[in-house]
Symmetry: C2
Subunit: 509 residues, 2 copies
């Protein structure tokens, strides 16, 4: 496997410092020394002028002095206890993140999987400079009360053009947590409306709800899965089951939980036992619905449990969930906040499942930059005004951005690109697993784009060492490394990553 080495102490790595290398479509690399070349015409394919690779300041221990001092300064007024880098976003470009000290990393975490198309992506810069963007920033509408004349067209040409099949309506929100919580609210309102069977609210309901009591405030619940992550506000956190640190000291609703399949990898070698495990989880989900102290309005599930450790399940499990939800008359909410917008090699990860009927709601955020939930059934829209409402109800700035992102995904075939690059990465990781079985286990995400992960007992060491070599990755769960590159990540980036990973594994062996 030929790889182009760009980090470490090699002569070539040193040679490349301060240079900006132009990739041509033929993959012949020519060097461009213009300091402004990343302002290249936005009609050209993006990032032809990306740096050649990572570039670490020699002799520097991470974090470097400027990152350290900068975080100390920020910490006086803003919580930085979870901060790992201080980033120069002006200098960051394409797949490369540059820190305050000037270290340039190949970014395979992408702001917790939320950057779709690379830093300072030229075509998004154009969108950000447009008159409609400026207007959206300066005159932010209260979308529920005073929508803009062009909002229907903006949705049709952007958020809804990207919508999953069968879900042709949208409720817009501002981030993943409130996208999920408004979906939960829609489910509760739907269930309450159904149970009232067309009658109006009773006097007792109207009175009791102001005291947060039944029958006005319903004792409904949202069922989630062990190790699921759905956000950190009070309702979403009640469905988040990934790690104690997210939840400690915070009041939570007494909502039911069911087991998510714990599959064995590689999947094709464990088909029988994995099927048994998925059948068990489906049975237990059904039992949890039946036994719930509070009637279940909806189940919420991630296509791949991301924060919880990149836990996959097969289409069989999700098809079973879809059927179960229907049979039990509960809604199925698919949380695609992290899986959505292309990273799994499909626009939406649930497209891998071949469902007969779509999920009832699909939530999105992160790489969409916009947030909200898609739905198809008119009954999920409240029957009265101001039931599902807030001041901003989303953000036209991000609706415009998602439109631009989606247009580029389509134009440049970035989902196919991600599927192919993912295959390439997976295949090469398999050979590393064979060579370093103590350091890489449970490789997963085959056929799932670049949504790839594996476990390692030395996870944190691998992450730290790779970072010193200019490759920035993220962890998840107890021992997993998850890959979350952007949709513009290509085979030559994969080569850099694989080369660095191989070095790291060798050093740690």
């Amino acid at each position: 496997m030929a790889r182009f080495r760009v980090t470490g102490t090699g002569v070539m790595a040193r040679m490349l410092r301060q240079q900006c290398v132009r990739y041509q479509t033929t993959r012949v690399r020519s060097i461009c020394t213009s300091p402004t070349c990343h302002q290249a015409s936005s009609t050209a394919p993006p990032f032809q002028d990306e740096p050649l690779g990572p570039q670490m300041i020699s002799g520097l221990t991470l974090p470097g002095p400027k990152v350290k001092q900068g975080l100390e300064k920020l910490d006086r007024v803003y919580d930085t206890c979870s901060s790992t880098l201080l980033v120069d976003y002006d200098k960051s470009y394409g797949n490369y993140l540059v820190d305050a000290d000037g270290n340039r990393y190949l970014d395979m975490f992408a702001q917790i999987a939320s950057i779709p198309l690379g830093y300072n992506y030229p075509r998004l810069v154009q969108a950000a400079q447009s008159g409609e963007m400026v207007r959206a920033i300066v005159s932010r509408p209260a979308l529920g009360s005073f929508p803009p004349t062009d909002y229907a067209d903006l949705l049709a040409s952007g958020i809804l053009k990207a919508a999953p099949m069968g879900l042709d309506r949208v409720f817009t929100a501002t981030a993943g947590s409130d996208a999920n919580e408004t979906a939960y609210k829609a489910a509760c309102i739907w269930k309450g409306t159904q149970e009232r069977g067309g009658r109006d609210f009773s006097h007792e309901e109207l009175q009791s709800v102001m005291e947060n009591q039944a029958p006005g405030a319903k004792n409904y619940s949202i069922l989630s899965f062990i190790k699921g992550f759905h956000g950190r506000l009070f309702g979403s956190l009640s469905t988040t089951r990934s790690k104690p640190i997210h939840k400690l000291d915070i009041p939570a609703f007494d909502w039911p939980v069911a087991p998510f399949p714990e599959l064995k990898y590689p999947l094709h070698e464990h088909e029988t036992e994995n099927r048994t495990e998925e059948e068990r989880c489906l049975r237990e989900t059904e039992a949890a619905i039946d036994a719930a102290k509070s009637p279940v309005a909806a189940i919420v599930v991630e296509p791949v449990q991301s924060e919880g450790g990149d836990n996959h399940a097969t289409p069989f499990f999700f098809q079973g969930l879809r059927a179960l939800a229907k049979r039990k008359n509960v809604l199925m909410i698919v949380d695609e906040v992290q899986t959505g917008v292309g990273a799994t090699g499909k626009m939406w990860a649930h497209q891998h499942w071949d469902l007969e009927t779509p999920p009832d709601m699909v939530t999105f955020s992160k790489k969409a930059q916009a947030a909200g939930f898609y739905y198809g059934n008119e009954a999920l829209r409240p029957d009265k005004a101001y039931r599902q409402f807030n001041t901003w109800m989303g953000d036209p700035v991000r609706a415009l951005l998602f439109r631009a992102i989606y247009q580029d995904i389509e134009r440049d075939g970035l989902i196919d690109n991600t599927a192919k690059v993912g295959e390439y990465i997976f295949e090469h990781l398999e050979s590393l697993v064979a060579r370093f079985p103590q350091l890489m286990q449970n490789l997963r995400g085959k056929g799932c784009g670049t949504f790839i992960a594996w476990d390692s007992p030395r996870r944190d060491d691998i992450l730290a060492l790779a970072k010193t070599k200019g490759v920035f990755m993220g962890g998840c769960g107890a021992a997993a490394i998850r890959l979350r590159p952007m949709l513009i990540f290509q085979q030559h980036h994969a080569d850099i990553f694989l080369s660095v990973l191989e070095d790291v594994l060798k050093e740690l062996s």
Copy 2:
């Protein structure tokens, strides 16, 4: 009182149609017919080139055909059941909102009190076109993990420059609901940490929290007030007590509630009984804290209950709350989402109270465009990473915008302006109250900037009729009209408003 009439059927009103009138500093009006005059140099004082007044298409019933058709089109994919206008934000300018049919309203509701400086405000347009804004849009950081090198400076020169005295730290969020909920979480984490007294989490806490059970998930509560409004996600909605329609069918935490003073107006005529009422509410708040089934971590209160009906209380009440919270060792969260950023004639409404020690947390959103909570006590910052965390942790786009807003507020003395214009409006409303006592009652907000309201048994008729005459106002509570003009609202705008209101009151008498 001489007023310049611009609506109705007068000759002048018709004359002014399609014209754009330039206000000069001498207040002599000259007519500018250039279609691009609202792109005037942004170094000039803003909105010299504002239209002269409202302008309604003659012979049109509201909503006009384009608003109607546009909302019908949008309704196919997006919930419009709470929509009252379809707005042309390109044509809206300054204090004037233009609907899809071309009707131009003097906007005294300002996107539910969330527009600080007028539509298409020239200096904000400059900020929106800046390189740092473009970067913030295109390369959105995960602020908690990877803050930008200039974030400390951006906070210091913007959000924190505007901070209330004594609260020199900030947690940034995306909107009012999550600003409040993260403040609630900070309160719960603070209380849990205090109760553990320095010991680490127990095994039992770590286990139980994953099941949403005590002792890991705490049975803490946030106390709020009858008719308070704090948002619509699950935690914030549990503290919202304004109207049943906001809460029906949604599960809620069984959190305590206390009465908010129901004062009699005008305040100076009812000092004794109002004092008695405020003392009663303080006693009942204390009793509610003592009797709460779930220990109270914080009380949350609005300086003026806005959505709940523009209910005021005096500094005595808030001083009493501050003292009570201290005595009971619970935190005091002041929700300034609607009252903050100048509209009450102070930057923050709680500055009217002369507190000896500041609130523990002050939440903000709306006119700040940015959102979050201010705090001063380091103990409100979690002791461990990832306890208070999410992907975006705010939005640099809005941090930049708030900085520009604050700079303009300071430069142009817009808070003083608002205080003065508010006095002017209040004084003239008093005379209308005297003339139309059946239609205007409980006028309130004296000395509170333009944060003015009154009750009317014909509230909805007044709002509808004023709208046909080109003045757009909002309601709140059961029977209140609340004024929420922008900070650039001036005496000549007040004259238009007062003239229209007078006409409306005459017609309804």
